[in-house]
Symmetry: C2
Subunit: 259 residues, 2 copies
């Protein structure tokens, strides 16, 4: 199956749909939780439920990794952790810099989940001269003046921006000019970057939004007549024109007009 | 299509697949960015690219909302923001408490993205008596002793845990006993909760992992012979047994054996 591709691994990786790439960390998170509980194997259904993904989609995603599981046994948790980590590039060391060491930057510097996934905090950078030299998470904060030399000396390709919104674009421009090609943006602003630079914006409210959906649903279940907070939203839903009460799998939906 | 469902909105909401629910905040984030740039309409392809989702899947997801766009014009950005917000329950007010006011808790308290999505921080709670009364993000920190009364008095159903790992389960138990039914867990530990309580665990490294995938790919593209950091990972990919270099759409994959 890998005919003619073994010498072009980058091309091969590019063959994985972006949506699959975006789900790999979700699988990895669920698998890591299983691994921490010393669970040896997992069925596609269990893993799909834990990752919040349809199990048919999970199997399709894993087929891109060449991982098919064993019928009646499931997937080997540890091996799948390794496979996904390798695919995501987490088996190598990624030095990152964090720029903006306020509460969020300091929290990120202390965040254990980076190191355990191959992300090593190479330096903490802040524009405030009063911060310079102060230890945060065991690293001395460096001043923004040093940004370019830090990037160069540490071979940093990933920058994390945790500055206020107003400073983020300027920091981004300097990171990119210094050679950074991936930006993780926690600042509440949209960043402009040249082609070839990837930016991902973190929205800390995303998981809260999913919880809100379920809270709304719970409120709706407790309500028989439209009254109360949940029912107000529920009534708005009921008033919606063209929406069915489908409960089947995703494939159950009629064809829609492309927009 | 909504026949017999208009009086059971909760049932209707339950008909949306969990994977679609999980994508709604991603669409909302992309749409909000468009809205901030005053973009009036968006095609499914553009929006799918911005949200990192396959466009056919996006159209299917939106069909659950009864949103089909207009051929040749696309989707109305503002209306779609409203539709998704309503579906997620973000058009109502959700009082939340944040427990654990260290760097992360303080960063979350200051995070503008909560309020703009309908999440109102009702109280900040910390176990440290020295923190009590100290203002963070304009709110006085309250002591853990008051946790139950705060939950009750504010009708809080969503709790955010930003404590160290060791304290998280105890805090979680108290929140649940006091009536909280959704937990957003930033603590690096797995929480046990009774049935009917939703827990979502935030992994701040997820977006970094997606960036790492692209960095690895970029490194592979720059390398013709296997040498250097990216190629090391690339060589591991090449050595993988049963994986093809598929570049087609997701449907292009052979059937896989269910695990």
């Amino acid at each position: 199956m890998a005919t003619g591709r073994t010498h072009r691994p980058a091309t091969r990786s590019r063959g994985i749909p972006e949506a699959t790439v975006a789900r790999l960390p979700l699988y990895l998170r669920a698998l890591t939780a299983l691994s921490e509980r010393s669970v040896p194997t997992v069925s596609s259904e269990e893993l799909a439920a834990a990752a919040g993904v349809n199990s048919a989609k999970l199997r399709k995603d894993f087929s891109y990794l060449g991982s098919y599981g064993t019928r009646g046994v499931g997937y080997d948790v540890e091996y799948l952790v390794y496979q996904i980590s390798r695919e995501l590039g987490l088996t190598q060391d990624w030095p990152v810099v964090i720029v903006g060491i306020g509460n969020l930057g300091a929290a990120l510097a202390n965040y254990g989940g980076f190191a355990s996934r191959g992300f090593r905090v190479a330096a903490l950078i802040d524009a405030d001269p009063a911060m310079a030299g102060r230890p945060v998470a065991g690293l001395p904060v460096r001043h923004t003046d040093e940004l370019e030399s830090i990037i160069r000396d540490n071979g940093v390709s990933i920058g994390v921006i945790a500055t206020p919104a107003g400073a983020a674009q300027q920091v981004c421009d300097r990171l990119v000019a210094a050679g950074v090609t991936s930006i993780l943006n926690f600042a509440p602003t949209v960043l402009a970057v040249p082609e070839g630079v990837d930016v991902r914006k973190v929205d800390l409210s995303i998981e809260l939004q999913i919880l809100a959906f379920h809270e709304q649903r719970k409120a709706g279940e407790e309500t028989t007549a439209p009254s109360g907070a949940g029912a107000a939203a529920a009534a708005a839903v009921a008033a919606r024109p063209a929406a069915g009460g489908r409960k089947g799998p995703e494939g159950d939906v009629p064809a829609v007009m492309p927009a």
